[in-house]
């Protein structure tokens, strides 16, 4: 990409002249900043994670002590449970549909709002409004009413109900997520605000077209935020739970078409009381998401631009 030129124009080499404090002191400072996180991560996160990893090798019914079964949960999951694979397919389909739609919509709206002079606050609030609700009980009921047979969508499009047809239900759930695009939109907006306006002024003086400005300034300067949204929305999409739980009343129907991974995990762990099996599912998901995220991080090196890295640090 040729786009890194504008930000680096201001790069100076004066830092070479600055005496850095001794490394040990800076290292100590880092640990002070990190201390709350270290405490939280080790006690509140690492410990329960270790327990769940252990449970994934056991038969655990919540009330009686766990029994060690080795890899049985994992082999059962991969070889004997057709419903497990149905949940994997449903989840992947959902990720592929919901993430690009939601992020694309959020970015377009954020860009539109940025270029607006009047009514910015109004639009920003109005577009965010659906996201205030989360996937609450009431919004689930509304969603089912709108997407059921005889509901608004059926009346307008004549498609029949969406939530009660196996081929359509997943779209109804995905639309609920896409509809609540406020969070990535706000993050995009915050990222756009952080781009120094001098860059655009300089580019305008140079006669760069809007499209050219978008490609040479907006995209590279926004790339850390785009990357953040992409990674986080992908992770969250793999774990989609509440919208599906709300729309299908926890069953993942019709005919398992919205039985997403974590929904089935919850079903195994808390309805069927096979917490060992659920833990094995959880760790498999962690590894799968980890692999996808690692790929995203790997590709990010070629398209994500960090202003703080331009002095040759990192």
């Amino acid at each position: 990409m040729t786009t890194t030129e504008i930000p680096t124009a201001s790069r100076t080499r004066q830092d070479a002249a600055v005496k850095k404090p001794p490394r040990r002191r800076r290292e100590g400072a880092a640990w002070v900043f990190l201390s709350p996180w270290v405490l939280g991560a080790s006690v509140l996160t690492l410990l329960p994670m270790a327990v769940s990893l252990y449970l994934s090798f056991t038969d655990y019914d919540l009330f009686n002590p766990p029994q060690w079964v080795g890899l049985r949960n994992y082999t059962q999951m991969f070889t004997e449970d057709p419903r497990y694979w149905r949940s994997v397919v449903a989840t992947l389909t959902y990720v592929v549909i919901a993430v690009p739609l939601q992020l694309g919509l959020a970015l377009i709206v954020a860009l539109a709002l940025k270029s607006m002079r009047r009514g910015k606050g109004f639009y920003r609030s109005a577009f965010y409004a659906p996201s205030l609700l989360g996937a609450s009980m009431s919004i689930a009921l509304v969603w089912r009413a709108v997407f059921n047979d005889g509901g608004t969508v059926d009346n307008l499009l004549g498609t029949g109900g969406w939530v009660n047809q196996p081929g359509w239900a997943l779209f109804a759930v995905a639309l609920l997520t896409v509809w609540q695009f406020g969070a990535p939109m706000v993050i995009f907006l915050a990222g756009l605000q952080q781009i120094p306006s001098e860059l655009y002024e300089a580019a305008a003086v140079d006669g760069a077209s809007r499209w050219r400005q978008f490609l040479s300034i907006t995209v590279p300067m926004l790339s850390p935020v785009i990357f953040f949204n992409l990674v986080l929305q992908t992770i969250q999409a793999f774990q989609v739970f509440t919208p599906a739980f709300a729309v299908s009343a926890g069953k993942g129907g019709p005919a398992d078409s919205t039985l997403f991974y974590t929904l089935y995990l919850y079903d195994r762990g808390f309805v069927a009381s096979h917490m060992g099996y659920a833990s094995a599912m959880a760790w498999t998901l962690l590894l799968a998401i980890g692999a996808v995220t690692a790929v995203l991080f790997r590709t990010s090196r070629s398209w994500v631009f960090y202003a703080s890295d331009t002095d040759g640090g990192a």
């Binding site: 038969d59 019914d61 919540l62 009330f63 009686n64 419903r83 059921n148 047979d149 005889g150 029949g160 109900g161 939530v163 009660n164 047809q165 196996p166 009343a249 926890g250 069953k251 993942g252 129907g253 019709p254 005919a255 398992d256 079903d267 195994r268 808390f270 309805v271 069927a272 009381s273 096979h274 917490m275």
Partner: protein, 422 residues
């Protein structure tokens, strides 16, 4: 500066722990019991009133109550129990007893026999709270299944009304006739419901589970049932897959409740009161069909069990409280039928004349069946919690025509056997 900060931290701690100081230490020498149950605000108001009455009679006991909707309650109780933090007195469903008892969460009530009397409770119903020979929980109420129908619409079709002792074949013919006359399904497709299947199965002299908690039927039985309902669905006599898949036990999601998309539904008697708001012209409760030889399949299902946590610090006081809720005449007056028609026979006789509206309808319906039904089965094994949803999921595959009844039934049996083994 430093003392300021300390004061702020202390104030924050106090706020975080809940300002009113109503924690376990707040009782001031009293026995503090936690009592949890599921229900709605109406049940909450009546329960609070009964609890206040109990606390007045027992000044040394302080009862802290908490409630949630059924699904939320189940999840919360499971987490608490797994964390070794089960409330002293808890309300339990028929399906939860085996798991909670065999998991060591519940106290053997025989240890508190002197404080808790069960003399007035029907022996058959009481026995459903027994696991491995020990009484772990006591039911408060009973319910039974019913064919509930839109009175006006049914009568308008001219089809003969359901009568006592009708069989499943009668029912099927009636559904067909209703559909023919009205142009919409006669009733909800019962194929999704493990409860309806159980009624059908008992009509054939079999049970869902054997006495030693193994499967009481085989793939042939289930294939027969699903072929029966699947055929009716294909004929349009019962609701289509798109309606059936939305069923979750609530009346709001039944075809009958969703703007009269069918003329009847099969449901439990007490929740059917919800139809009053949804079917303006009113509903009638009819008995479930019997087996072809007249064997009744439906039974009085015990509900709203009460149990005591095994690690409760105050088991005796907890037993006194349960005794009060079950046997006290004043408590019964306050509680009415908010948890269903009471199982305590003398209490039931005392409050029946005072019941109003739909409570009276349910009481009359149950009275009409009294003496005709067989004893309830013992509480289902804990694996049934998972199998209940599996049953509906497998039937979805049948009604959306992705599997034949035979294939789905084989699937179910495989899964059920695995579930009951573990």
């Amino acid at each position: 500066m430093r003392s300021c900060a300390t004061a702020a931290v202390l104030a924050l701690c106090a706020a975080l722990s809940g300002c009113s100081g109503s924690g376990d230490s707040g009782g001031g020498g009293k026995a503090v019991l936690r009592y949890t149950w599921w229900g709605n605000p109406d049940r909450a108001a009546r329960t609070e009133e009964a609890v206040a009455l109990f606390e007045k009679q027992h000044p040394g006991i302080d009862i802290q109550t908490s409630f949630a909707g059924y699904d939320a309650y189940k999840q919360k109780l499971a987490t608490q129990a797994a964390g070794g933090d089960a409330p002293d007195v808890m309300q339990l469903d028929y399906r939860m007893i085996d798991q909670y008892a065999s998991g060591g969460v519940l106290l053997d009530l025989a240890k508190q026999r002197s404080a808790l009397s069960t003399a007035d409770i029907d022996a058959g119903l009481l026995a459903t709270g027994v696991v491995d020979g020990k009484q772990y929980a006591v039911p408060q109420a009973r319910g039974t299944e019913t064919i509930v129908y839109d009175t006006k619409q049914w009568k308008a079709t001219g089809v003969e009304l359901p009568r006592e002792g009708w069989t499943w074949n009668d029912w099927a013919d009636t559904m067909r006739a209703l559909a023919k006359k009205s142009g919409k399904p006669g009733g909800t497709d019962p194929g999704w419901s493990e409860d309806a299947f159980e009624v059908w199965l008992r009509g054939q002299g079999k049970n869902l589970y054997t006495k030693d908690q193994q499967l009481g039927f085989d793939a042939d039985d289930l294939t027969k049932w699903w072929t029966f309902t699947d055929k009716l669905r294909r004929e349009g006599a019962v609701s289509p897959a798109e309606q059936t898949t939305q069923l979750d036990g609530t009346v709001e999601n039944t075809p009958l409740g969703r703007g009269g998309k069918a003329i009847s539904d099969n449901n439990w008697d007490a929740p059917s009161s919800g139809f009053l708001a949804l079917v303006p012209s009113g509903v009638t409760l009819a008995p479930m069909p019997s087996g072809e030889d007249g064997t009744p399949g439906q039974y009085f299902k015990p509900s709203m069990f009460m149990g005591i946590a095994d690690n409760s610090g105050y088991p005796e006081q907890a037993a006194q409280f349960i005794d009060f809720m079950l046997n006290d005449a004043d408590a019964a007056k306050t509680l009415g039928a908010t948890r269903g028609i009471p199982v305590n026979e003398s209490i039931r006789e005392a409050i029946t004349p005072e019941l109003k509206d739909f409570d009276k309808t349910v009481a009359d319906f149950q009275a009409s069946l009294d003496g005709d039904l067989n004893a309830p089965p013992k509480a289902p094994p804990s694996g049934d919690n998972a199998l209940q949803t599996t049953f509906q999921r497998d039937y979805d595959q049948v009604s959306y025509e992705r599997m034949s009844p035979r294939e789905a039934a084989e699937n179910y049996i495989t899964e059920a056997k695995a579930e009951l083994r573990s």
